[in-house]
């Protein structure tokens, strides 16, 4: 009798798993649509379209409006398609107006531009559709459910399960049986060659972009009978889509399909089997896939990017005497700020300084090491939690906590860096993102230690630094020393070797430089300084939350670096000050801060793909040479050409 009951329970469990698996397959359909769009766009244009999530969201909102207005099956299905077409047209518009201008910009710069668009869309959506979640109509003819093993499965899910492979098949036909498709595949292999063959690249790119956006919008539109439409849809999907595309292999539609199924099933079944680690299961799988197959399941090795014409580096020089004096004056002026500025200004100033240090640490890794991390918040957050643990569990004073924080950042970077430097380019970026998400999930779910969502409170600075003035001076001192150390490192023999490994792996290897170890070391240095910034942040806020190692912080860091100028020595300092100050100021002035900030980012990218500092240097070096611009000795006592 007991045995029979057990068997029955087991049977029920298997049924539950099966039903859950079907639900996972249904989710996979939308994910596949969005991911295949991203993959196709990347394959041809080499653009990682951050705005893909925004188009997904727009598709859902647009479909909501159309399907609510026009009733009946035609109104619903027609509405979905028309909504996707409208969004695709918007996507094509963005490609023509914005991206066409910046195809020649350094890698990742298009990412910044599309990120700016994402910010704008977030505010626009709230402006047009309001801040509340919206509930769309159900699909006519698919409102019911059918029974399977005594459990009800929505018939709409069944439709989606069929739809996924159907779209995959249609895309296959499009790419293998049409002239356009052949051109797209050829361009994915070698777009320069295709251009040489007399194909109009502009329109090929635009049409590919429109198709990709159409797929994203359709993926969003198809979601409205299943879930509510919210203005947070974009960020939640974009990370998942990045993961899918990277697991599947960038540029591979079939790979995206398998990866979408894999990820959706992991999400659906993970909750049943291992609820504790469900959040990180996907990222763990991605990390494993990337270490075993560095270019995804069905991806091909990335060709080394061809150097963008006209953007060759001006060799970096240490600061001249005059520049040093200028910097010292600026620092001195900043140090005088507490004498007349109010508490609010000072706390804002401290926050900016924390991010100056954080952005500089990322900048070191990105521009000197050539390692673009999408998950740099991990080390910032680890630093914050390290400091918080020191205070909470050891009762350590601030001085000690400010050492333990960077130590945490360093340890995190040692572990994840070892894996990450095995990869390059976008795959490297994605693996750093995966590690950041794993660490975030652990912090979020390990409530006993980290307090989970409630965070850790009461991380107050030492008495002498507890006033806004004192803390500002502390932050200023640490930030200045940190940035100076990083800058020194750029010009040290180690920095030279690091730049060598970035410029030409082949040549570096042929003169005895081990790329992986050098880059690993740079990763660790960068993580340590990010940890220091995080530790300061914990004391600034008096608390730590999982937010401090979440994606928005990583993205902020990236934006600061790119805004300042990726080809400069210390552009991140300027980028961080401008971005953070602008963000805080706009937040206090207007409800549409994201719209304005996004627009500013887009404009800056178009006006100056070299970033703010790159732009200033460009202007400076365009000036005719002055006869006095000869040799200026610097403090090291060596004669060297002035930056002229």
């Amino acid at each position: 009798m007991i045995v029979a009951t057990q068997t029955a329970t087991k049977g029920a469990n298997v049924e539950l798993l099966l039903v859950q698996a079907l639900s996972g397959l249904a989710s996979a359909a939308s994910l596949f649509l969005v991911a295949s769009g991203l993959s196709i766009i990347f394959g041809v244009t080499r653009i990682v379209n951050f705005a893909h999530g925004a188009f997904y969201m727009l598709g859902a909102y647009m479909a909501y409006t159309l399907t609510s207005r026009f009733a009946g099956p035609l109104g619903f299905w027609g509405g979905l398609v028309v909504a996707s077409l409208i969004v695709a047209a918007l996507g094509a518009l963005m490609e023509m107006v914005l991206l066409r201008r910046i195809y020649q910009a350094p890698e990742l710069f298009q990412l910044l531009a599309t990120f700016g668009v994402t910010l704008m869309v977030q505010d626009l959506v709230v402006l047009i559709w309001g801040p509340d979640d919206l509930m769309g109509p159900r699909a006519p003819g698919f409102t019911g459910a059918f029974e399977l093993f005594g459990r009800r499965i929505p018939s709409y899910d069944a439709l989606l399960i069929v739809l996924g492979p159907l779209v995959l098949g249609l895309l296959w036909l499009l790419f293998h049986r049409t002239r356009w498709g052949v051109l797209v595949r050829a361009a994915t292999q070698d777009r320069d060659m295709v251009a040489c063959l007399g194909v109009n690249q502009k329109w090929l790119f635009t049409s590919v972009f429109a198709l990709g956006v159409f797929l994203a919008a359709l993926g969003g539109a198809l979601q409205i009978p299943r879930t509510t439409v919210t203005h947070a849809m974009d960020l939640s999907i974009i990370v998942e889509v990045f993961v899918v595309v990277v697991i599947g292999g960038l540029g591979s539609v079939t790979g995206a399909f398998f990866a979408a199924v894999l990820v959706s099933e992991l999400n659906a079944l993970g909750i049943l089997v291992l609820p504790k680690i469900s959040l990180i299961a996907v990222f763990l799988v991605m990390a494993v896939v990337l270490v075993v197959r560095p270019f995804g399941l069905l991806g091909k090795p990335e060709r080394a990017p061809r150097a963008a014409a006209g953007l060759s580096f001006r060799p970096w020089k240490p600061m001249t005497q005059i520049e040093r004096i200028g910097v010292a004056l600026i620092v001195a002026m900043a140090a005088l700020l507490p004498l007349f500025a109010g508490d609010y200004t000072l706390s804002v100033g401290s926050e900016i300084l924390v991010f100056v240090l954080f952005a500089s640490s990322l900048h070191f890794m990105m521009t000197v090491g050539g390692l673009a991390s999408f998950g740099h918040a991990a080390y910032f957050g680890l630093g914050a939690y390290g400091a918080a643990f020191a205070v909470k569990f050891l009762g350590a004073p601030m001085g000690v906590a400010l050492l333990i924080g960077p130590l945490f950042g360093m340890l995190g970077a040692i572990v994840s860096g070892w894996f990450c430097v095995r990869l390059t380019g976008v795959y490297f970026a994605m693996l750093t993102l995966a590690f950041a998400q794993i660490i975030w999930s652990v912090t979020f779910q390990w409530v006993e230690v980290t307090g989970g969502d409630n965070g850790l409170l009461g991380i107050w600075p030492a008495r002498w630094a507890s006033s806004p003035q004192g803390f500002f001076w502390l932050t200023l001192g640490i930030a200045v020393v940190g940035v100076a150390l990083l800058r020194m490192l750029v010009f040290s023999p180690f920095g030279f070797g690091l730049r060598a490994a970035r410029d030409s792996t082949l040549r570096a290897d042929a003169i005895g430089i081990n790329r992986k170890s050098v880059q690993w070391a740079a990763f660790v240095v960068s993580g340590t300084f990010a940890g220091l910034a995080g530790a300061l942040f914990a004391f600034l806020k008096g608390s730590v939350f999982p937010d401090s190692l979440a994606i928005p912080i990583s993205v902020d860091g990236l934006v600061m670096v790119l805004l300042g100028g990726i080809e400069t020595v210390s552009g991140a300092v300027v980028g961080a000050i401008v971005y953070k100050a602008l963000a805080i100021w706009l937040m206090s002035q207007t409800d549409l801060s994201k719209l304005i900030l996004g627009a500013i980012i887009v404009l800056l990218v178009v006006a100056s793909p070299k970033g703010i500092v790159g732009f200033i240097e460009h202007i400076r070096h365009r000036r005719p040479r002055t006869p006095t611009g000869a040799d200026v000795p610097d403090s090291l006592g060596i004669n060297m050409k002035a930056a002229e």
């Binding site: 150097a307 060759s312 580096f313 001006r314 060799p315 970096w316 020089k317 240490p318 020194m488 490192l489 010009f491 040290s492 023999p493 180690f494 920095g495 030279f496 070797g497 730049r499 060598a500 970035r502 410029d503 030409s504 082949l506 040549r507 570096a508 290897d509 042929a510 003169i511 005895g512 430089i513 081990n514 050098v518 070391a521 090291l636 060596i638 060297m640 050409k641």
Partner: protein, 260 residues
């Protein structure tokens, strides 16, 4: 006496295609040896195995008696092998001098040093190397701006930074103007003789090969089919049929010179 470089029974195939099948040869110190052969003969594969970029399927490569098969390029470099690439590989974000300085820092095992200004280290040594290849004038220019011939000369300076015993040069004069070719090879030969460096180079320009090589090896379909002095190789009917063809420019030129 152990040869500087001793290669025996080198084999490499790519998914069924036999690129190199059992190549054996030796290079002595101070010797300038050319490796020629038609496209696809396996020259580059041979080269890339010699400095550890590709691992051979079988065979042995000894530098001064020490086996180097299985070592990465950076370890081969530490054993005194410098190389230049068919398509130049330089550090384009740095100045010409800095390119050499990085190589010198690496040679002096100072690359892990995080203190001091690297632009000030080994400056004289870098300038001497640049002087050797005639690049002193361009020392402060960004490497990204150089003309192709200058890049080739810079590569030579970089390849000489570790005081190599053996220099591997993959098509050192490809893409250069005729005058530059002769100059570069004359320069290389001069340095090699002065410092007793063994040089192995591949080349398609027979003027360069016959003018500067002490000996020439001919590779065809992954096998060495001839080795000898330039005169011997040039007269080898088998080599003529496979690679050189008839009516050599070099011969014609020399006949003209003899007449005038």
């Amino acid at each position: 006496m152990t040869a500087l470089l001793e290669v025996s029974g080198l084999v490499k195939s790519y998914s069924g295609v036999h690129a190199v099948k059992g190549v054996s040869f030796a290079v002595q110190a101070g010797q300038i040896l050319a490796l020629i052969g038609p496209n696809g003969a396996g020259k580059s594969t041979c080269f890339n195995m010699l400095n550890g970029q590709i691992e051979p399927d079988a065979g042995s490569i000894r530098i001064a008696g020490e086996e180097i098969v299985g070592l990465p390029p950076r370890a081969v470099w530490r054993r005194g092998v410098g190389r230049t690439f068919q398509i130049t590989a330089t550090f384009s974000s740095m100045t010409v001098r800095e390119n050499v300085q990085v190589a010198l820092l690496s040679y002096h095992s100072r690359l892990w040093s995080m203190l001091g200004y690297a632009g000030a280290s080994h400056r004289d040594e870098a300038d001497r190397l640049l002087d050797l290849v005639g690049m002193t004038q361009q020392a402060d220019r960004p490497c990204g701006e150089l003309a192709y011939g200058d890049l080739k000369r810079l590569e030579l300076a970089v390849a000489l930074a570790n005081q190599p015993k053996l220099l591997l040069m993959d098509e050192p004069t490809a893409g250069m103007a005729p005058k530059e070719r002769v100059e570069l090879m004359r320069l290389t030969a001069g340095i090699a003789r002065a410092k007793d460096i063994g040089v192995l180079f591949t080349e398609h320009d027979m003027d360069v090969v016959f003018e500067h090589a002490d000996e020439v090896m001919v590779l065809n379909r992954g096998e060495l089919i001839a080795r000898g002095t330039p005169q011997e190789v040039r007269r080898d009917p088998h080599v003529q049929a496979i690679y050189l063809g008839e009516g050599l420019l070099y011969d014609a030129k020399h006949r003209e010179e003899a007449v005038s």
